[in-house]
Symmetry: C2
Subunit: 590 residues, 2 copies
């Protein structure tokens, strides 16, 4: 039982100027956090209580899935990262740590970095400590602060420089066991989000800089989300934007009949898809071939898309280059023979085709018959271009961004798109890290193999905010039971009235017997202020003691989700409250 | 109930090469921690469990003392520190954090630092959130990771770069209330250390770089401690080396009768106390005046001690200079007129006395009658020097290091010295930070005052190691009940024997009913290995199931602190164990 006057819940009438979304506003207004600096927040007592509850729920579920908790340092020797597989890409989003003293030498390489995740630490540890198949599988996890040098922190705890994350790392003897570990964790995630009271859906995801073979993201649908989820409710398909595919090209697809030979025509000043759509050319975008040039591991390569499609950059990851970026006009001209705007991939039009690392075509260009593309000659295009006959394609693949309404691969029904917040991620990593760090084990035949790894993350601080984003109204937060900082909010209207104060204590104790955490608002404030704050804080059950009701021998009991309060006679109050919280707790689920 | 085979307790036969002390060796050998890098340790599952238990005990006691828990970021804007009172001194022991990206600009001032303590963060927060006397007192605390750029990390968790600390900050309306907050916290500390099972004594301490008016350290006596505790058991006096004083100079002290006028004599090549003690001069060290020159805030000043005494540098803090360091010979010569070895403070011998910020004499020089000192002329000394008649003293003070055997100020009885490990610290800070950051409140007369602060720290990770340092034997750790990772260690000698395994589970459940945490060693290992590991882990109660005993219908129960095991018939085993752990838990205290 906490008494507001002895506690610290600084509620605010106004939202902070930098808060763009409801959950960020409510986090600050309800006194859960305060901003120290961009992306850095102090958890005030109420926010910290919620964080501890979420941490405990997460720990219970990961333990149930066989997780073993430990705690690795926040400071990592930069050496570990340099020895690992992702230093070049990861360092750009990391903090380094060095002496703050005035004698600090400038310009040298970092001695320490602050951990965003811990593959580079756990893998060498496991290499040293575990050598036999008898000691596998193991799944190590920790729940603690991680660091990310966000250039543009925003949305409160959503995109922060410090955040609290559960990160886990599984080690198995083979791929099959690793998949079992993966799905055990997927189950733990689902249980965690269900118990927290947040609707999170598992979507197929790109593995990105983590590498690895497959991956799911857990997304909380929310209008303000940073990520798009592509899904079809009926078929159960769900993937994020980077990964999503559709069945745009029919299985029985066949080339269009060529209308004639390829013809060059002058297109002075035409360097965009839109310009070629306009008169006098009037070529629809979905009949144009869009030719893009990228650099992969230092060599140029070509990607061909429909003019009406957008490249999904993440999908270039499937090509196997470690680092990719768009090529500059200076890099393009010696290879294709023209500047952007007149590029194409028709056989025989390249200036130096041998310099290319490949020509990769999106499946959807197969839908183009007798299309138009650049001639690799500035100011000229080619018409009557057909895919099989005319284009120099190394390999087809999925490179385009899916759009709402396209047919689902599973069901053929239209895909839908909604925005979401990523709150968790699971990766089947394979042996990328174990090979790099030599984390091998000996099998029962004394043969040595690299361990097969998975890695897992749940954003605990992000989940806190996702709960609020998903569960609030115009007056404030509406806490699900298991995530609520307290369950029962007792508004003691006249704290100077000793009998009423004693009653608050007794009813609080009755609620505690039912398993509830209780906050008593014993401030000397007007009832209106107390009710407004109670709605803002959004604890599940409000009990009002005082005023006319008390004189008439009743208290008021109001669920945060209900419109109206229920009047309960004093004689029945204790029993009523114990029963109400017991039922609510049991509905919330273990 | 945890099963060893499903858990992760990598015990070692050998101590790590860098471990100099027993607790460090045992931390690693018993599988509680692993070193990542100098001063950076991973808490393995067993170590993390102990950390969580200590954290919870600490939280309970600080809550009881009125503490309100929150959590501040680890990354601090360097700006907060630049605005605070200790940046110049503190930055030398801090880490800075900046982008790890390759584009990182060299040589600029840090953007962020990693918090060693959080005065610079909490004070501005309180300034914004608390404005009225009605909202005071408040005592905010957090338990989490702190960072310190130790140049020479050693002793495992004792002197680490990352460590877990409880840090608290109290804010009061006046000095009297601040003292009450201070002593409430002192009581909480005492309760915490008592419950953990570690003997820690509160000693008067220097306030050092924290500033503030008074301070206690909590020290765990241990031979390997970094700090000296000066104490007298009978009087209860205890202070650390930096702060300790003795009653060396009698209250009725009077000048010795001068033996004659001051005389200069040649001392070619004599530049040490020892050389002047030797023939032909034969001046005992305690009859020599030792003259030291320091620089305080850029100006030189003189400190005079007995030749037989050592300067306690921390005591120069009482002089009010912010930064002090020894003067160089080049800085000394123009002011005193000689090089070190021939310095003195006899009136009229200075070359430029006006350049001095002061001449400060230790009380103990009053015991010197007709002493000898440098002549401020290279190669010459003066004899027949008497304090009152001859020395130019701005002010007397306590600047010397106390030695064992000197009389206690309280009782006059001899002081003793022992080494100790600092595990906690409390400071009455006063208004140093609140004035600097403008943390003021309005009283009931609408008058504004700076809040009066205290700050408090308990090294949780250091306490973990102090427990082991204080409580171990040749075979391993001997855990006090409340700090033990588990309470009951069940050695299941033959885990393949299904009946024995079921019995282990049942006895484990019986122990849990008595409030104990249970570890079952179900590894396929020889009994000798299991017993050695049980002693190494040091859980309070060991239960052995198997072997001849089991055939004869008995189990063995052995306290870690006992020499012999007790044989208990199977029929009485459950009742015996429940009773034993219930009693042990109740003895350990809440």
């Amino acid at each position: 039982m906490k008494f507001w006057s002895q506690f610290f819940i600084p509620t605010l009438k106004e939202s902070p100027a930098d808060a763009e979304i409801a959950s960020h506003k409510l986090l600050v207004r309800a006194g859960l956090v305060r901003k120290l600096s961009g992306g850095l927040y102090t958890y005030l007592p109420l926010g910290l209580i919620v964080m501890r509850k979420l941490t405990q729920l997460c720990r219970e579920e990961i333990d149930r899935a066989g997780g073993i908790e430990l705690a690795m340092p926040h400071l990592h020797p930069a050496e570990n990262w340099r020895d690992g597989p992702r230093w070049a890409a990861a360092r750009e989003i990391m903090f380094r740590a060095d002496s703050a003293g005035e004698g600090q030498r400038a310009g040298r390489e970092p001695e320490f970095v602050l951990g965003p995740t811990h593959e580079e630490i756990i893998t060498p540890l496991v290499k040293t400590e575990i050598t036999s198949y008898r000691d596998l599988p193991k799944n190590f996890y920790q729940i603690g602060t991680k660091f990310r040098n966000e250039i543009r922190p925003r949305y409160g705890l959503m995109r922060a420089r410090e955040f609290v994350m559960m990160d886990a790392y599984s080690f198995d003897v083979n791929d099959e066991r690793a998949v079992a570990s993966y799905f055990a964790m997927k189950g733990a995630y689902e249980a965690f989000f269900r118990r927290v009271g947040v609707q999170a859906i598992a979507v197929e995801a790109d593995t990105g800089v983590m590498g690895g073979s497959f991956s799911h993201e857990f997304m909380v649908p929310a209008e303000i989300g940073d990520d798009d989820v592509i899904y079809n409710e009926a078929s159960g398909y769900a993937a994020n934007r980077e990964k999503a595919a559709s069945a745009l090209v029919p299985a029985d697809w066949a080339d269009a009949a060529p209308a004639g030979a390829v013809e060059e025509f002058a297109t002075p000043g035409v360097v965009t898809i839109a310009a070629l759509e306009a008169a006098p050319y009037a070529v629809p975008a979905d009949r144009q071939f869009k030719t893009l040039v990228y650099i992969g591991d230092g060599k140029p390569f070509v990607v061909i898309l429909r003019g009406s499609d957008e490249l999904e950059t993440a999908k270039l990851g499937s090509l196997g280059f470690t680092v990719t970026r768009p090529a500059t006009p200076e890099e393009i001209e010696p290879v294709l023979g023209a500047k952007p705007g007149s590029l194409g991939a028709v056989k025989g039009t390249f200036k130096n085709e041998a310099a290319l690392a490949g020509i990769f075509a999106d499946h959807a260009i197969r839908l183009i018959g007798n299309g138009t593309t650049g001639a690799n000659r500035d100011g000229f295009h080619l018409r009557n271009v057909n895919v099989t006959r005319d284009l120099a394609v190394t390999r087809f693949g999925d490179f385009r961004r899916v759009r709402a309404g396209e047919p689902d691969v599973k069901s053929g029904q239209p895909l839908q798109v909604r925005r979401g917040i990523e709150v968790g991620h699971i990766f089947k990593l394979g042996t990328k890290y174990s090979e790099k760090f030599g984390a091998v084990f000996t099998d029962d035949q004394k043969q040595s193999h690299p361990m097969v790894m998975g890695c897992y993350g749940i954003g605990i601080s992000r989940t806190l905010q996702a709960v609020i984003e998903q569960s609030h109204d115009a007056d404030g937060i509406v806490w699900p039971w298991n995530a609520a900082p307290f369950h029962v909010h007792i508004c003691l209207l006249d704290p100077q009235d000793a009998a009423a104060a004693e009653m608050a204590r007794q009813l609080g104790a009755a609620a505690e017997r039912g398993g509830a955490d209780v906050l008593i608002d014993d401030r000397v404030e007007r009832p209106g202020v107390k009710f407004k704050d109670a709605d803002l804080l959004g604890l599940p059950l409000r009990i009002t003691i005082g005023g006319r009701g008390l004189k008439e021998g009743i208290i008021e009991v109001k669920w945060r989700t209900a419109k109206e309060a229920v009047k309960v006679p004093l004689t029945e109050a204790e029993a009523h409250i114990t029963a109400a919280v017991t039922e609510a707790a049991s509905n919330a689920g273990r």
